[in-house]
């Protein structure tokens, strides 16, 4: 089964009750397919709903309408918008990883424990989990004296590497990136980029937002650009996934 993720007519409208019911449309009617092992890049100006889109896929946000179907290798599909929260937790733990711009830091937990946690939750013995973690920590170029320190005291680049490491340690079949290289310096960017390229070689399906156009083009098999359709109607400012419109730029790489 080639198809891995199928997004259909996804729409997100924020209703702000505390602002007298003001509605803000993040994006409207977005559909796309993602095949196994491919990388789809999403670009668009700030505020055009890039992050909201991928957060809706990961159920960080609840989409207003539309479906997100995740297929397994045998073609059995699961609709991520309609399964229970507990089932979604299972999907997050076992199948889809998410790397954001910020590390959700657990206070007072050492880097080693943060990294090995996903494995231990799956029933690995601590020693085997630690072996794997050590291999990756070396690969990610994290100094040995930081392994048993708290990531809240790390530099931005180190934090981000721990974040990425924790996501990929249990080999998810799909990873979603929300600007993982933002706020990092050149050297750290390069390390992260190398790792993502290696992940791609290993056949992990990915969706990514990267601020840097060059990075995006380097990684993506296909880039979708979110645009706002011009006009004078009420819908004027609604960003659409302008796949078919003229404004849509679809870079086939």
């Amino acid at each position: 089964m080639k198809l891995h993720l199928e997004v259909k007519n996804l729409t997100k409208i924020f209703k702000m009750h505390i602002l007298n019911g003001k509605e803000i449309t993040a994006f409207k009617n977005i559909s796309f397919d993602l095949n196994r092992g491919k990388f789809i890049g999403i670009s668009g100006k700030s505020g055009y709903g890039k992050s909201s889109l991928i957060k809706c896929i990961y159920r960080n946000y609840k989409p207003t309408s539309g479906t997100v179907n995740l297929y397994d290798e045998n073609g059995i599909k699961i609709d991520l918008t309609s399964i229970s929260d507990y089932e979604m937790l299972g999907i997050r733990n076992n199948r889809i990883g998410y790397v954001s711009q910020f590390l959700q830091i657990l206070p007072r937990v050492t880097a080693m424990n943060i990294i090995t946690e996903p494995l231990i939750d799956k029933g690995w013995k601590y020693d085997t989990a630690a072996d794997r973690a050590v291999k990756l920590l070396k690969l990610f170029d994290i100094p040995k004296n930081l392994w048993d320190a708290f990531p809240s005291t790390f530099s931005g680049g180190e934090k981000q590497r721990i974040n990425l490491l924790r996501t990929i340690i249990d080999c998810p079949e799909m990873v979603i990136f929300d600007e993982p290289t933002a706020s990092l310096d050149g050297k750290n960017r390069k390390i992260i980029m190398e790792i993502i390229k290696e992940m791609k070689k290993q056949g992990i399906t990915m969706i990514g937002i990267f601020h840097d156009r060059k990075e995006l083009e380097e990684l993506s098999d296909e880039i979708f650009q979110l645009v706002r359709s011009d006009g004078f109607s009420d819908e004027a400012d609604v960003p659409e996934f302008a796949r078919s419109s003229e404004e849509m730029i679809n870079f086939k790489l």
């Binding site: 209703k15 009750h17 505390i18 957060k55 960080n60 946000y61 929260d85 937790l89 657990l106 007072r108």
Partner: protein, 279 residues
């Protein structure tokens, strides 16, 4: 996919006389928790949720929203007016455990559940030793061998890091954080499969609060005990819980993954709650 350990269906409690309107099962439609026709207080109504093995389920909401009422009904401190609770440890979850005999309810309290109150006075007897407090629970659960009881109690006191030389002291001589740790050890000593935590860190200073939270987290990871955590502190909830329920006026108004509820609150009250939290 594992089966839920606790399945709560349509729980309802009305404080006061109650009338034909507010005692009806589908009573849901008002904007406060006072019945418009008889003035009874609606403790909780239409409460449905599941707790899965090993997870921590959070319940948030303002004071008086019915969080503790739900917890107290589960622990049989309050009798529910109607509803059903199935517990996987009792007859494979096929039986409504709200209808047990008082004897069996006591057994549920002592063997299958553990509870930690915000106020240690409710959970501990301040005039017997800490060891005695925890041992009492084991005696109630059916243990009779002195040395095995003592070993077990000491084992759990060690887990909650109570200083060894204070085991025999009365809880009334302890600090708030230590009393809370004795409560947690007492709740865990009989090996419950569900731990009920009612604002376990309320009124503690931040460093002690941090220790208690770390303790709860490590217990959840090591012993795989399922927990229901009631709190109004979003930071505590965010740290410990993967799924949460938001309550207001005795009703569940929103339920979801913790990060979803915090990042994309859908209901009016939840938005107020999230935006009120100090960042």
């Amino acid at each position: 996919m594992s089966q839920p350990i606790l399945n709560v269906k349509n729980l309802k409690k009305v404080f006061g006389t109650g009338c034909g309107i507010c005692l009806k099962n589908d009573y849901f439609e008002t904007n406060d928790n006072i019945c418009s026709s008889c003035g009874s207080i609606i403790g909780c109504t239409g409460i449905n949720f599941e707790v899965y093995p090993g997870e921590i389920l959070g319940i948030v909401g303002e004071s008086g929203s019915g969080k503790s009422t739900v917890l107290n009904i589960i622990n049989y401190n309050i009798e529910a007016d109607s509803g059903e609770i199935n517990f996987s440890g009792y007859k494979n979850g096929l039986f409504n455990i709200l209808n047990l005999s008082s004897q069996e309810k006591r057994k549920m309290q002592n063997v299958h559940y553990g509870i930690v109150y915000q106020n240690p006075h409710l959970g501990l007897n301040f005039n017997i030793s800490s060891e005695g407090n925890a041992a009492e629970r084991l005696l109630m659960a059916g243990s009779r061998n002195f040395s095995s009881i003592q070993d077990k109690v000491h084992d759990y006191f060690g887990k909650v890091e109570l200083p060894v030389n204070r085991y025999k002291d009365f809880p009334k001589f302890f600090s708030g954080g230590m009393q809370q740790r004795v409560q947690i050890a007492k709740a865990l000593v009989s090996g419950p499969s569900l731990l009920l935590l009612d604002e376990p860190t309320g009124g503690l200073d931040v460093s002690v609060q941090a220790k208690i939270l770390d303790l709860i987290r490590s217990i959840s990871r090591e012993l795989k005990v399922a927990m229901i955590l009631v709190s109004h502190d979003m930071q505590v909830i965010r740290l410990l819980c993967k799924r949460i329920i938001v309550m207001k006026h005795g009703r569940i108004i929103e339920a979801g993954l913790t990060d979803r509820v915090i990042d994309d609150p859908l209901e009016s009250y939840t938005q107020t709650l999230v935006h009120s939290a100090l960042q």
